[in-house]
Symmetry: C2
Subunit: 182 residues, 2 copies
Amino acid sequence: MIIDVGKRLRMLRQLHGLSQRELARRAGVTNGLISLVEMNRVSPSVSSLKKLLDGIPMSLAEFFTGDFNQRTPVFYAEDEMLEIGNEEVSLRLVAAQRVGRQMTLLRERYAPGADTGEEMLAHKGEEGGVVVRGRIELTVGKETRLLGPGESYYFPSNLPHRFRNQGREPCEIVSCCTPPTF
Amino acid sequence: MIIDVGKRLRMLRQLHGLSQRELARRAGVTNGLISLVEMNRVSPSVSSLKKLLDGIPMSLAEFFTGDFNQRTPVFYAEDEMLEIGNEEVSLRLVAAQRVGRQMTLLRERYAPGADTGEEMLAHKGEEGGVVVRGRIELTVGKETRLLGPGESYYFPSNLPHRFRNQGREPCEIVSCCTPPTF
DNA sequence: CATGAGTGTTTAGTATTATTGACGATATGG
DNA sequence: CCATATCGTCAATAATACTAAACACTCATG
């Protein structure tokens, strides 16, 4: 996602009913700088941006995480969800087409016998899920557990992990990961 | 949270096995700058930091949000999930106790007749969900739709929204929002 | 009309950041 | 042991962020 620091700052400032001078006073910078930053004539140093956000107040994390977009579909019928699985593991991705998504929401189906494989998955971010139907054996790091309906998991995705359905009925999970990996 | 830009950058760079020069090449800056930034001798401009993170790669949001913790439980049985609902709307929160979570994963139950209310909800971030059982009427902005099992939604949370279960059977949803609001 | 207090923008000068190129340290291979 | 390569740091210079002060504009108020 490409972000427009100036526009975002201006929006936030106005949202809080502050003038450039008032924010400048609170932040300990000059009003001129705020003008320049908001017009994208300069790219503020992190330390300056931090000062500015302290005056709002807002954290750098929030500032860069915040989304201020736009108009994409809200609702998704089953066949409007992008399907990316195979016959064993089926993934239906919610809001696949949405640009600048901050997370990936999936409906996952594991057929009996399905297995995401020996060489364990490992990527960035965090993921979690809730088992909706059936049972799944989940290994995260050195821990393994059999999860049933209503049970859940949550872990940083850099831990190696593996899903196996050793049961006789298909297993269905709703899961989410951030940042979006698909 | 007070962050140490230099330390964090160095950690990330080393985590990815990159030398200052290699990262410099990828980011389109000089190795000297990386050295100075990592020693906190300068506060990089946002544009420079962006370049550096592009070379990792990592978003500014992730960089400032980044959690680099820790050891918390991975699996959650039903009664290990924090419950925060009332009799109409029941929310079970996955990994509630986890510090620095980047998203909130919920199992929601709406009793027949449940309604999140006239004055519509509106907060920051994004949220999405999948209907697991029953039906729910969801209004987002000016759009309203009745969602059934397998159907889903995803929208920026600053749009006002409202959930109503007008049916006779309870409705169950697995939802996720980021950044975490609970 | 003034006049004054508010707004955001601009400009010239100063402070800080970023580049360039050289340095010492460490490691590898001939 | 000397060459060669790669590492992070540093000093001097170039580029850019930031400040201070003035400007132009709008809106109230007398």
